[in-house]
């Protein structure tokens, strides 16, 4: 009950904030608001569309003239999706399960690896530090999509084809994450670390007890980043997994949509699956958008 009361209070507070913000708008800001609203509607339109499409019953999908909003929403597409099997007779739940495992492992892995790597890069003047950071910075400019063939060779020679490692390890190599974390850790005052050190804190304690609590915004950001990368990744499935049982949801959706161009069959199912891919990304971003924007302020390449 106390929680409910708190929620109500914070809602009321933010509502009054909105009202006062609206009242304080001057003329140029109102013009701006109208313009931006139009643009925002344009940007969000396809997303609204996919929402509606996913809930349309079959007869509405084929309607002419085509309708934008759903009239009689139904869960039919989602149940169809659950029952839809490919030639391999694998239920879609298998792909969803794979996606969840891969995403969880990659996100947790990225957060740990990223924090471990960014801390010395930001705070320890070890020999070779500049070179390591320089290479990481340079690699941000490389798009991994162009390296499918050599990556395939690496994965094959490591013997991790058709395993979860083959999904997770390539995703973990995300230099942007380390870069963002390092830039944010640069802001932590050195005096703080010195003081803790005098109190006998070990390097590990420094990282876990002092640095990490300060850089939570950046941690949140790379969590989202690696979540999105892993959750919507179809590349590792396409290249490194021959076994259909190891493929992930985005790959499945891709195979559903690959021949949609001029057919309507399975459109609703594809829309439903797309929605399942999109929703977690959106929810996670909504929950942490403030922290993300805070982190991006330190994203500059200096």
């Amino acid at each position: 009950m106390a929680v409910l009361k708190k929620m109500r209070q914070s809602l009321a507070r933010s509502w009054s904030l909105y009202r006062s913000d609206f009242r304080s708008l001057d003329k140029t800001q109102i013009v701006l608001l109208v313009l931006l609203t139009l643009l925002a509607v344009f940007m969000v339109l396809p997303l609204v569309f996919i929402f509606n499409h996913a809930f349309k019953p079959l007869h509405e999908l084929f309607l002419f003239p085509p309708t934008f909003f759903v009239r009689e929403p139904t869960m039919q597409n989602f149940t169809d999706l659950l029952h839809a099997t490919q030639d391999t007779f694998l239920p879609v739940t298998r792909f969803i399960f794979n996606s969840i495992v891969v995403t969880l492992l990659s996100t947790v892995g990225m957060v740990i690896l990223g924090a471990l790597c960014a801390y010395p890069l930001a705070k320890h003047p070890f020999p070779g530090r500049k070179i390591v950071f320089g290479v990481i910075l340079l690699s941000i400019m490389i798009s991994v999509e162009t390296m499918g063939i050599p990556r395939y060779i690496v994965v094959k020679s490591l013997g991790i084809m058709n395993t979860y490692w083959g999904h997770v390890l390539p995703i973990l190599a995300l230099p942007v994450g380390v870069f963002l974390l390092k830039q944010f850790m640069d802001q932590v005052p050195d005096e703080l670390l010195e003081a803790a050190k005098l109190d006998g804190a070990s390097e590990w304690q420094l990282l876990v007890r002092i640095i990490l609590p300060i850089v939570t915004p950046a941690m949140a950001t790379i969590t989202i980043l690696s979540f999105q990368t892993a959750w919507s990744n179809s590349e590792t499935s396409a290249l490194f997994m021959q076994d259909d049982a190891m493929k992930t949801l985005p790959f499945y959706v891709e195979s559903l949509t690959s021949n949609l161009a001029n057919t309507v069959a399975r459109q609703g199912v594809a829309a439903a699956a797309s929605l399942i891919i999109f929703m977690p990304n959106l929810i996670i971003f909504l929950l942490s958008q403030r922290k993300v924007i805070q982190t991006m302020a330190h994203s500059g390449i200096k």
């Binding site: 940007m43 010395p120 020999p127 290479v135 999509e145 499918g148 690959s258 021949n259 993300v292 500059g300």
Partner: protein, 329 residues
């Protein structure tokens, strides 16, 4: 671990310059001591560096090596020298007549225009009061969350070639066209559609960085600027906002370049085929996939990747010169 380990980075670690210059053995010993002192730092960065080397560094070098070979994925690669590159720039008609012009057009629109658009949008949003700002930022950022694949279904339905397609239906209704157009399969429209879709989904990390950068500029600077005779908003942007947020601008620019190259696959997704109809939407990425995975000429495909890689790095370097930190800063 000793105290020096966490001391400020700006103090160079090489304080232990050997007293006797030229004493190589001594220098080496000191270096080793230094490295030993920081053993924990190396331990910390090791896990990421292993993954990083395996999936980024090694692939880049393998790619370079493969680009000098003939490799069909079954036999062991045969050394071919500069053959692949020679063929690419002298005989590959598709590459010279379609891929290069298409990529140039695509990159020109999606890159600079998308980038400027991101800045304008971020600046406009920054002018709104705080509570509203978040929602507009979200609306612009949300499309990039879709990550390409999720939206294929939307675009394909929107651009469907018969009258049930939304765009076609709209154009028919308002009398712009008499007959439905096969939008994504028509070579006259494909590239244009690809550009629009890519710009739509390009407001990602770079856009957020710019927005955060603008919000972070010290307010008092604007007041100081007004006293110094800055009269219009445009002057404010040019003389205060942009110079103050150069680092974020550079980050966003790099993200824009990478994003542009990444979205190269969109033509295949839209038209549902590779090669795209009449090669009208053929970009670097499609050409690489065409040779790499369809024709299994992996050496040749690698050569194309390397050309693309070099182009990216050169472009980023160029932007670095424009926006990067100067000597006197």
């Amino acid at each position: 671990m000793s105290n020096e380990a966490t001391r400020v980075v700006r103090q160079p670690a090489a304080a232990q310059n050997p007293k006797l210059k030229g004493d190589l053995g001594r220098m080496l010993q000191d270096k080793m001591k230094d490295i030993w002192k920081f053993r924990l730092s190396y331990l910390f960065i090791a896990p990421f560096l292993v993954v990083f080397s395996l999936f980024i560094i090694i692939p880049v070098f393998t790619g370079v090596a493969l680009s000098f070979t003939y490799f069909n994925s079954i036999e062991f690669p045969k050394w071919a020298g500069w053959m692949n590159y020679q063929n690419l720039f002298s005989q590959d008609v598709i590459f010279l007549q379609h891929v290069i012009p298409n990529s140039f057009k695509f990159a020109l629109f999606v890159g600079p225009i998308g980038y400027v658009l991101a800045f304008v949008l971020a600046w406009l949003i920054a002018q709104l009061p705080g509570t509203l700002r978040v929602w507009y930022a979200l609306a612009m950022y949300a499309p990039s969350l879709t990550g390409g694949i999720a939206m294929v279904v939307v675009w394909q339905v929107m651009f469907t070639g018969d009258r049930t397609g939304y765009i076609n239906s709209f154009l028919l209704k308002w009398g712009f066209i008499d007959q439905p157009v096969l939008l994504t399969i028509d070579k006259d429209y494909l590239l244009g559609i690809m550009i629009v879709v890519s710009i739509w989904s390009s407001m990602g990390l770079g856009f957020l960085a710019i927005l955060a950068g603008i919000l972070n500029v010290d307010r008092t600077l604007y007041e100081a600027g007004r006293i110094d005779g800055i009269s219009s908003r445009l002057q404010e942007i040019w003389y205060i906002t942009v110079p103050m947020m150069k680092p974020q601008m550079l980050f966003a620019a790099v993200m824009a370049i990478v994003g542009t190259l990444k979205s190269g696959g969109i033509g295949t997704q839209l038209s549902g085929m590779n090669p795209t109809p009449d090669y009208s939407g053929q970009l670097f990425m499609n050409h690489i996939e065409d040779f790499g995975f369809t024709r299994l000429e992996l050496g040749y495909a690698s050569a194309i990747s390397i050309v693309l890689l070099i182009l990216t790095v050169l472009l980023s370097r160029f932007l670095w010169m424009l926006l990067g930190p100067k000597e006197d800063e």
